[in-house]
């Protein structure tokens, strides 16, 4: 029963969360479930979310891992597949590989402090799932949508629109496929091993779940030592022989409860007044956890001085409006690609080396497929990590993530002596406008301090004469002055 409830809840969560990624119709403009994920909450220091998740773990065990985390039920799916193909699939108790768990966590913290957020994003479970949803599921969804739109167009209905399907980034696609293969393989053959060795969220929550109030308990009176529970446990955490459970690794899947024919396993409060907790066992993990914390504290000042951007391209990359600076993005973004997926104009793309090694796969603005809508603030609204901070439309109008650079030597007005003005036409703030040139022609002139970096000019320029250079620290765009000499009444035909 408990297992069914948790599976239904988890499927509902992953379903809604996934729809948040792949939705094309703008139906789920503000995905909520993305905002209660542990990794993003930690990086954005959303204290309320963190407190709730930790409190839930202290109260109920790792419900985050069993219900909230999309990668949890995702792994259970592969695990279920393996059980389908092999009915006799058995697990058994394994000792916790504590050094690996805490070692990975410590290494990730150090990597983050040194600016290699990329590595954290690779294994942060929500982000790993997000990239798979964006890179692998969404294209399928788009294909289905386009097929549907094609059919409805044939029947004379234009209610559905086709959507462009394109490759956003080879790196991200490869990473998503590798994530699928690696995590799929591990969960198919080794249950939730990923969650209890590599996953940093699993390690952190595992620390708290040792003390959880509600937990799986073995009734030693009823237990007949059949060890069925241990064989069913995909977290390898039930030591049936000794009737003990490693709660730091229990992901709360409730498989064991159904496995026990004696009804010896229950999920609940202690039956007797609090059994004394084995101090020595707890102490060690606590110590390691604190050690990691110490390492973190020791490295923090150095990291703050560490150079956040690596080797630079000749062009300065442009981080999304609201991200404030390359540094802020680098510190907070785990590359879940929710913004990339949600960007209606297909401007946000996963970065290659634009931000350096640490920022691989973080969102970067590219204008080959479109340009940033002047009034759109979707990326800043959806970001769960605090990497792109929320912007109001008014704030966005004054945010300058990059500014226009005009190369007159490439402009066709200058070279071919032909009229154009496409750039000025696309500029929402007239930061690029046309001024008189030779022979009655007009040629672009820029006012970079007014530029909002939307990239309309770069997108439309037929000659690559206009481009946007990113600001590593975003600036404030100067608001344009209103033109005078406008008559608002009293005119006639004029001819």
């Amino acid at each position: 029963m408990l297992k069914k409830i948790r599976v239904i809840l988890a499927i509902a969560v992953i379903g809604i969360l996934t729809f948040g990624f792949i939705d094309l119709g703008g139906l789920l403009q503000n995905p909520v479930l993305q905002k209660i994920q542990f990794g993003p909450a930690l990086l954005s220091l959303s204290l309320v979310t963190l407190a709730c998740l930790i409190a839930a773990t202290l109260l109920l065990g790792r419900v985050y891992c069993s219900v909230v985390c999309p990668l949890g039920i995702f792994q259970d799916f592969f695990n279920w597949l393996s059980k389908k193909s092999d009915k006799k699939k058995k697990y058994g108790y394994k000792e916790e590989n504590r050094w690996l768990r805490y070692g990975v966590l410590a290494a990730l913290i150090i990597a983050w402090l040194l600016g290699f957020t990329f590595l954290v994003g690779l294994v942060e479970p929500y982000s790993a799932y997000g990239r798979m949803a964006d890179e692998l599921l969404k294209p399928l969804y788009i294909l289905g949508n386009n097929l549907f739109a094609w059919i409805s167009e044939k029947t004379g209905s234009y209610r559905f629109f086709k959507v462009v399907l394109s490759l956003k980034s080879v790196t991200s696609l490869v990473v998503a496929i590798l994530t699928l293969l690696v995590i799929g393989h591990i969960s198919y053959h080794h249950g939730r091993t990923w969650c209890n060795t590599i996953c940093p969220v699993g390690t952190i929550l595992g620390f708290f779940s040792r003390f959880s109030l509600l937990r799986i308990r073995i009734d030693t009176d009823k237990c007949n030592h059949c060890q069925a529970c241990g064989r069913k446990c995909k977290a390898f955490c039930i030591d049936s022989k000794n009737q003990k459970i490693d709660y730091s690794r229990c992901v709360g899947c409730f498989d064991c409860i159904d496995a026990c024919k004696q009804n010896a396993l229950t999920y609940g409060l202690p039956r007797k007044p609090a059994a004394p907790v084995k101090e020595d066992c707890v102490d060690e993990s606590k110590r390691q956890f604190l050690k990691s914390g110490l390492v973190l504290a020791a490295l923090a000042p150095q990291a703050l001085e560490a150079k956040v951007t690596g080797k630079k391209d000749t062009r300065v990359a442009m981080s999304p409006p609201g991200s404030q600076s390359h540094r802020n993005l680098l510190q907070h973004c785990t590359a879940c690609h929710l913004c990339v997926s949600k960007c209606p104009s297909h401007v946000l793309k996963p970065a290659g080396m634009e931000y350096g090694i640490g920022g691989i796969m973080q969102p970067v603005m590219k204008f080959d497929q479109g340009y940033c809508n002047y009034d759109c603030t979707i990326c800043s609204q959806v970001c769960p990590n605090g990497a792109i901070r929320p912007l109001s439309v008014e704030q966005k109008h004054q945010t300058q993530p990059g500014r226009v650079v005009f190369d007159v030597t490439k402009c066709i007005v200058n070279i071919q002596h032909t009229s154009c003005g496409a750039c000025a036409e696309h500029c929402p703030v007239q930061a690029i406008h046309m001024v008189p040139f030779q022979g009655g022609l007009t040629i672009p002139e820029t006012t970079p301090e007014m530029c909002v970096g939307c990239g309309g000019c770069e997108f439309i320029c037929p000659a690559h004469a206009v481009r946007i250079e990113g600001n590593t620290e975003h600036l404030t765009a100067k608001l344009p002055e209103q033109e005078q000499n406008i008559q608002t009444e009293g005119f006639d035909f004029g001819f």
């Binding site: 703008g26 004379g156 234009y158 629109f161 086709k162 462009v164 209606p344 104009s345 479109g370 809508n373 002047y374 009034d375 759109c376 066709i412 071919q416 032909t418 009229s419 154009c420 003005g421 496409a422 000025a424 036409e425 696309h426 500029c427 929402p428 703030v429 007239q430 690029i432 406008h433 046309m434 009655g440 007009t442 309309g456 439309i460 320029c461 037929p462 000659a463 344009p480 209103q482 033109e483 000499n485 406008i486 008559q487 608002t488 005119f491 006639d492 035909f493 004029g494 001819f495």
Partner: protein, 316 residues
């Protein structure tokens, strides 16, 4: 280079010049009659200019002078209306054609027996924003028209532009290619590059590759595309005029409630009228500086000489 080569080059250059002139003559010879199909029909006005009314009554008044919708739409015709829906702007910001005018034109066309009325624009901003936010999608659906997507290359087909000089081939929207008659319904706006935009520049939205139009010589390419399949009627919506910061506009401060409408079968005449009206609103712009209008006249697309035309001026 010896003398023979020089002479050859000279001959070739001469031949090319001749061809070029012929091109102009062709355009002139062919487009004027097709544009002004009823130019000889003196019972109709050549240009109707209406002021001081709401959008729908102004359109109705103009059409009355021009011979009514029946002059253009025959029973069973497939009709296309091409407004300007280029920008993610609400009607109040005057970035796009007034939805009421589009809706009324649909109602009139259907009443005249049109088998279908399709509406589209190859938007600059994202179509999924422009169509609904402009108010046009909703108005079209309510009026019984069909809002057709135009944001995918698959909606366009390659056509020859036999009378084109720069533009010999273009990807034109299927709706235009397949229709019997189409209406060009732009809004009057300031334009950073062209100073003013109305009927001519609205043709940008029937082709797929804007960059090719820009790089191939903007005015020539627009003039060329106008020869492909001339619109039956050009209706310039100036109910609201985007006086400054066009063609997008930044805020309501750029917009003037001008309450006017100009309609003609002659694209140059209607832009001339709209241009003269516009320069009253934005006094920073001189009519003589709006060069694409005389350029179009030189290409033979119509006439700027309004005095020679039968112009009806109506104040409601």
């Amino acid at each position: 280079m010896d003398r023979r080569d020089f002479l050859k080059t000279l001959a070739a250059a001469g031949a090319m010049l001749t061809v070029k002139n012929n091109g102009v003559m062709d355009v002139m010879a062919s487009t004027v009659p097709s544009n002004g199909a009823a130019a000889a029909d003196s019972k109709y006005a050549d240009l109707a200019a209406v002021m001081n009314g709401e959008p729908v009554p102004m359109l109705q008044a103009a059409l009355k002078e021009l011979g009514g919708i029946e002059r253009f739409v025959k029973k069973g015709n497939k009709v296309v209306i091409k407004p300007n829906i280029g920008w993610d702007r609400t009607p109040e910001l005057a970035g796009n054609t007034n939805p009421e005018i589009v809706a009324e034109l649909i109602r009139l066309s259907l009443a005249a027996g049109a088998s279908e009325v399709k509406v589209f624009d190859h938007t600059c901003d994202r179509q999924q924003n422009c169509y609904p936010h402009s108010g046009i999608e909703d108005a079209v659906k309510k009026a019984g028209g069909i809002m057709v997507p135009a944001d995918q290359q698959s909606e366009y087909v390659q056509v020859d532009v036999p009378k084109g000089k720069s533009l010999k081939k273009a990807m034109v929207h299927k709706a235009i290619v397949d229709c019997d008659v189409w209406f060009n319904v732009p809004i009057l706006k300031n334009h950073g590059g062209a100073l003013m935009t109305a009927a001519m520049k609205n043709h940008m939205g029937i082709v797929w590759d804007r960059r090719a139009i820009h790089s191939g010589g903007l005015h020539q390419c627009i003039a060329d595309i106008c020869t492909y399949k001339p619109a039956a009627l050009h209706i310039v919506d100036a109910y609201r005029t985007l006086a400054t910061n066009g063609p997008q506009g930044r805020s309501a401060a750029d917009v003037v409630l001008t309450k006017a409408l100009f309609a003609s079968t002659d694209i140059v005449a209607v832009d001339t009228a709209a241009g003269k009206f516009f320069t009253q609103v934005n006094k920073n712009i001189n009519f003589d500086d709006i060069e694409h209008i005389p350029d179009a006249q030189a290409l033979g697309l119509g006439t700027m000489n309004l005095d020679k035309l039968n112009v009806k001026r109506i104040k409601l």
